[in-house]
Amino acid sequence: MAGVGVKLNRIFEKKSIAADLVGFVYSVVITIAPMIVIIANILLIGWKLGFNEEAYLTRELFSCTILYTFIFALLVVAPFNAVLSKYMQDAIYAERYEDILPCYYVGLLMTVVLGCLIGIPFCLWEHFVGGVEVYYVFTGFCAYISMILVFYSMVYLSICKDYERISIFFLIGMAGAFILAWVLKYRCGWNTDYSMLFALTSGFLLIGILEFAAVKRYFARNSNRFLPVLKYFVKWWPLVVTNFFYILGLYIHNFVFWTSESRMVVVKSFVCNQPYDMATCLAMFTNISATVIFITHVEMHFHEKYKIYSEAVIGGKKSDIESAKRRMFRQLGSELMNLMRVQFIISVVIYLLCIVVLPQFGFAGSVMQIYPCLAAGYFILFLMYAAILFLYYYNDLTGAILTTLSFCGVTFVCSLFSMQLTEIWYGMGVVLGSFTGWTVAYIRLRWVERHLDTHIFCQGMLLKQEFAPRPSGLVYRLQTEENKEYKKSGIIK
């Protein structure tokens, strides 16, 4: 995000509320432009095709299909992505560009297989128990797999820092979907909901194909070295766990609320809790800019200090190392405080806007009751994510696992309790879970600071490790009657 970082830093350097807001708009556009394009397109198609005139069940089935497609595609892609990104970054660093395409294929295969393991049973259930037509179920399944391809390929293009291209692909895909939906409805005479679903699936597939083509164009050569990718999963398994729990934690409170009395079950298959899900979506958008602000800021300031420290470790005196370490951790603290300050201002403004503006667009009642607490929760959650990124910097994967595990666990347990409270406290699960995660990450960062020398200088192995007892040093014994047994066992020659 170097290019983005430079622009954002120019904005934030002014250190005013207005500047913070401009920075927010810019970072949101960069990070969630693709999502905005999809949501806007769904709303636009729906409006043009008269989706609101459809039967309630039809509308809910369509909404749930799209919601599940998004959530589960993200969940499926998340666990493997961190390791694949790591492999790809290492390959780029070592200029082994020909190793990236094998990494892409291995990752894609693993992700799609995992996606199918979850998706196919659900689709069978949807058809046989829910009674949904095969063509509809199959199209939904295709949308889900296409979305997996889209999210998966996005990682590769993100690493190449080609955000503009990603946004253009989304625009093309969604424009295509819009036209196709119109043609299907008005020229072919298809149902509104199925026209929309089919068009969106085609749009997702088009985006996925465009991204795949871009990846292939970037990394034209293929070394066909697939095994090293799999070995990375063995070596970096904590990244899989961390990412999985982080993404699961993001949604686990939704899953909890899908079991509440206010849930809605569509065709005996899809479960959702519309007010809570909508409030979650708003809370996430309120705070999402934190991720970009943080990453870019870290890249510009903290990374510099980290580099100085690394250089001191490689070729400096101990006194140089110590002073570089002190400066680096001072910068780390200041980055966290800075993020909190900027994001707080942004979140407060958006929160107020939501409270004032949204009721006029029909968002009121339960949604706006649940939203404040969740917004606070997501604010802490993104601060926690920033701390996790710092833990990654120090390669403290144990810390990262502990953080996401505690975040996910506490969010789950506390959401079970908060479900019993009044609507305004529904988001307490996320608040407490995020706070726990943030606390663990912070304690762990302090621990890393205290033990950084051990962490830096005591890693790796000096000798080859043999997982066996040390062989006896006895290699010769005079052959007598007593020691024939030794000879048999091969201890002596």
Binding site: G316, K317, K318, M461, P471, Y476, L478
Partner: protein, 495 residues
Amino acid sequence: MRICIIAEGCYPYVVGGVSSWIHSMICSFPKQEFVIQTIVADRSLRGKYVYELPPNVTEVHEVYLNDSDWGRKRMRKHRMNKKEYQALRSLLLGQKIEWEILFDYFRKHQVSLNGMLMGKDFLDAVTELYQLNYSQVVFTDFLWMMRSIYLPLFTVLQAELPKADLYHCICTGYAGVLGSMAKYFHGGRMLISEHGIYTREREEELIMAKWVKDIYQNIWIEQFYKMSSLAYERADMVTSLYEHARELQVELGCPIEKTMIVPNGIRVEDFQNLPGKTEEDQGKINIGAVLRVTPVKDVMTLLQAFGFAKEREPSLKLWIMGSWEEDAEYAEECFGLVRTMGIPDVEFTGNVNMREYYGRMDMTVLTSISEGQPLVILESFSAQKPVIATNVGNCRGLILGEYDDYGAAGMITRIMNVEEIAYAMTALARNEEMRIQMGKNGYQRVLSRYQLSHLQDAYKKIYKDFAESMQLAWEEEGQKAAEEKPQPDADSGRN
């Protein structure tokens, strides 16, 4: 009595002076049981002996300096307690080293070397040493150098040692550490027989080494000093081959009352009635160099000196008798030098039976840059041949005489001095009378002080005294105790 010989990188894996000495010692005491504890580079050498082990050797144990980290579980980072950490610190700082605690630590905890050297305790101790003495150097380099310095020592400290009544170390260094450790765990006595002065030899090597520079040379040297101090402190007796070596031992911290001089000895009768010159040798003055073609023997200087001498005295012929496999690259350089300089009459024989060659020689030459008390000089004396040798180890004492007035048995030159060596070759070549007289002087000298029987008697007394001090029964050896089967070192290249 069960005697454990502790040897480093020699017997029974390679042919050489020290290996030969050990072998004849074992053969000299056939009624004593010998166990051999060896220190070798790595497991590729496991059981690859060039000597046939005598029947009184009952066991051979090996320690590998370059080994893997063994253990059923993954790398264990066992933390030291306060006392253990203090002992580690004392080792690194070289202050009143608490060796017993270290011996126990490595024995009791089944320490993982990866865990130990990559652990926090080692890092802390190294940091402390760094802050105290070396705070101006690159820390990471310092840390890794310390790891590489202590890796072989810690490997040795992990060794399981055989039980014996007497631990006879053939040098200090790692062998001395093993001997001290064995004495600590199993009791018994400890004897050190140094051929060269281990610490000084390592020091010389390190000063010349290209892979280690500046302060790291000093740290390595200090490390060897620490190990020698331990060995001298724990030994009950320390023998050396000659007076100057004894003085060096005392200088290095060995209590003078523990020291004793026991010179090398050879079987003089093996070099009697040797076949003389052949038709091929007519009109030639043969110079024999019995050595392995390695840098420590400084064969390059020998060849250059011979080249100059040959120009002055065309009848000279140089015979280099010994293997060149040990350092093929150096050997190739030597062959190249002969070709480049166009030196005629240089013969590289490889390994040969020396008894067939000594009689044909008019003199022998040894241009080493480091020696103890070379057996090759004693052999040459036994064959009544004068020797030209560099002034290293006990060469001066052997050639000019320390304890007798027989007169010079050859000529002494400075090391790496081409001119002096060439002059000595020419001088001896041109004066047959002097050669013959010097040969006789050498023969008288070897008869008077450097016979194998002298050596056997000295060690018999030492062993016997140790046995008595431990109230062990001592079985007298038979008359033919010293007879042994022909071994590889009966050929050339032992030096």
